[in-house]
């Protein structure tokens, strides 16, 4: 058995959060070791190779205004952004009818008043939620006792508004509004901003001016691969951490046949996976209970590849919103910045994942292509390639894109989310107040964890 490797800090998980933390610690002169279960870095960001040097994102990919920390990281790494294709008409699909529309107002007059009312009320209430301690909101207990869906229904917003909120949440949480508490939903939306700009639903759902505004040249995974390259052999791949032990002076991280001993550890994993590690001493029961309740939603990305983005010639953006009748909730033009090949991407999440993940791959692909045809024309039925990335079947993620926390959890266990456990600190997109569950949240959490370790070292 190889001798234990010693370091100042061991970082568990080489996604954006872990690598951001490791990069900051290494820059501060600390000896850092990064331990990653997969044979790649990037966590929930992963590039799919299209050939000819082109890639497309199969995981987290979009970035937008107020996501300052991931944008600053990209700038520091020399990785540019480019705008998500947002020219041309969008398509709204409901009851088997596909209708073009421009701007942000969907052609669903029956649903729009209720949706507008819901957005206004959610934005207003979310400003009453303290981002760093949502359980201290004046109505925290009341709001945490109610599923988000029940609140929408009781507010009289109507079926259409709830359907459209679920469209947003299918890709946002990977779960419907029945599964998140109102308090959690308000807090999540409150975080869709930065220290100076309050979060709003509109910023979360918009393309231009919102969270889907831009993409990274070379794909979002290049942020992680670039950081890992600079860290060099401080990053160990293919080493799933099975046990973490700690005493008054050291923390010992054990993989299969390898051991790291350090003064500090930063665990940058999905919370539900962190809870599966064998901890000695045991995780505090409140923290363990919280992490287990932060299981990820269900989401896959479905992408079809064409010789060209032909829909652009027909003045279509490739963006679609599906209120019903499709496995997808929304689609985007995911063509690389070079303009070819053409790629359409659809989110298949939440309730629809539960329906469609059990169907045969051929039937699912057919249904996805028919949905693409509704937003891009019948040529979309004839791709030259197609792939799916089902995040639920990724052993080291087990779902996506993030957690949807149900009623009664945030007010009773929420304060345990970031609480250090001895010499262990936490990072990951779910450990951020701004842009929780997003790449920006991951970077923020990694920076915060590194700062905390450095403060302790001083």
């Amino acid at each position: 058995m190889p001798a234990a490797q010693r370091a100042d800090v061991v970082v568990v998980g080489a996604g954006l959060a872990g690598l951001t933390a490791a990069r900051a610690l290494a820059a501060a002169g600390l000896d850092v070791a990064v331990v990653e279960a997969r044979d790649r870095v990037g966590g929930r960001t992963v590039n799919h190779d299209l050939g000819d040097g082109q890639v497309v994102e199969a995981g987290g990919q979009f970035v937008g205004p107020t996501q300052n920390r991931v944008l600053a990281l990209a700038t520091a790494l020399g990785i540019a952004t480019y705008p998500t294709h947002d020219r041309g008409a969008r398509v709204y699909v409901h009851n088997g009818r596909a209708r073009r529309f421009t701007g942000d107002v969907m052609p669903d007059p029956a649903a729009l008043p209720g949706l507008a009312l819901t957005i206004l009320r959610v934005d207003r209430l979310s400003r009453q939620v303290p981002l760093d301690a949502p359980w201290r909101a004046r109505h925290a207990r009341r709001w945490d006792a109610v599923p988000f869906a029940s609140w929408i229904r009781h507010a009289g917003a109507g079926r259409g508004a709830l359907d459209l909120v679920d469209v947003f949440l299918a890709s946002g949480f990977g779960a419907p509004a029945t599964e998140a508490s109102l308090l959690y939903a308000l807090w999540y939306i409150a975080g869709m901003g930065d220290e100076r700009t309050p979060g709003t639903i509109t910023r979360g759902i918009a393309t231009t001016g919102g969270a889907q505004e831009a993409r990274f040249v070379g794909g979002s995974q290049s942020l992680s691969t670039t950081m890992a390259q600079a860290l060099g052999d401080r990053v160990t791949l293919g080493a799933p951490v099975r046990a973490i032990e700690q005493d008054a002076s050291t923390v010992t991280v054990r993989s299969e046949g390898r051991t790291w001993i350090a003064r500090h550890a930063i665990v940058a994993l999905p919370p539900a996976l962190a809870a599966r590690i064998a901890w000695t001493p045991l995780l505090p029961p409140q923290q363990d209970a919280l992490f287990q309740r932060m299981a990820f939603g269900t989401l896959m990305k479905c992408e079809a590849v064409y010789d060209e983005p032909f829909w652009r010639d027909d003045d279509l953006s490739g963006q679609g919103v599906f209120r019903s009748g499709s496995p997808l909730c929304s689609t985007f033009d995911n063509t690389p910045t070079s303009g070819h090949p053409g790629v359409l991407m659809g989110f298949l999440g939440g309730q629809q994942w539960r329906t469609w993940s059990g169907r045969s791959a051929r039937e699912r692909r057919g249904a996805v292509l028919r949905s693409f045809a509704q937003v891009a024309g019948r040529r979309a039925l004839h791709p030259r390639g197609y792939f799916e990335q089902d995040w639920t079947s990724e052993e080291w993620t087990r779902g996506g894109p993030t957690s949807a926390i149900g009623p009664g959890v945030l007010t009773t266990l929420g304060e345990w989310r970031d609480r250090p456990f001895g010499r262990v600190r936490w990072a990951g997109a779910e450990h951020a107040n701004h842009w929780n569950g997003y790449m920006d949240g991951a970077v923020r959490s990694g920076e915060a964890a590194a700062r905390a370790v450095l403060d302790q070292e001083d």
């Binding site: 039937e363 692909r365 057919g366 249904a367 292509l369 028919r370 045809a373 039925l381 004839h382 791709p383």
Partner: protein
């Protein structure tokens, strides 16, 4: 007592997909809700069609009205013929649904000529015959739309190029 004569509605279309792919969809009793216009939901099914076995549907009839129907598979000739009989469409009785398929070539590509035929005996005397006359144009439109839906499904589930 006189027995009403059989009515027949039949439509033919050419589907731009090979007959094997078309048959693969038609053969699955679970999937009628995906392509047959008027089938709101298949409530019970037995997967690949089997002679003598049944499946049930929730169907739209006229306007907001719906009905529950049960179909029994009577005859199968793979990639050529499928015959089912159904109940639950009063005042129409002795309902028989027949799909026939023939491989054809269109612009050098494999395609399928499909005929969608339904025969039934209208009940309720003159009233039933009147209803039958009124519903036939709608049925023809629905059959054509169903076959277009089937074509789209078959195309979307085709093998992808290597």
């Amino acid at each position: 007592m006189t027995v009403a004569p059989l009515s027949e509605v039949a439509e033919t279309a050419v589907l731009a997909a090979p007959v094997e792919r078309v048959w693969a969809v038609v053969d699955d009793t679970r999937r009628y809700g995906e392509w047959v216009v008027g089938v709101l939901e298949v409530t019970e099914h037995h997967g690949p069609a089997t002679v003598g076995r049944s499946y049930s549907e929730h169907n739209r009839t006229v306007g907001p009205l719906t009905t529950r129907s049960t179909w029994t598979v009577r005859e199968i000739e793979p990639v050529r013929l499928r015959v089912d009989t159904g109940t639950g469409f009063a005042p129409m009785h002795d309902m028989t649904n027949t799909f026939t398929f023939r491989p054809v070539t269109v612009d050098g590509a494999a395609a399928t000529e499909m005929t969608y035929r339904v025969t039934y005996r209208p009940g309720w005397g003159a009233v039933g015959r009147l209803i039958d006359r009124v519903q036939q144009p709608g049925l023809r439109t629905a059959f054509q739309a169903s076959m277009r839906n089937l074509e789209t499904i078959a195309i979307s589930e085709a093998e992808l190029p290597e």
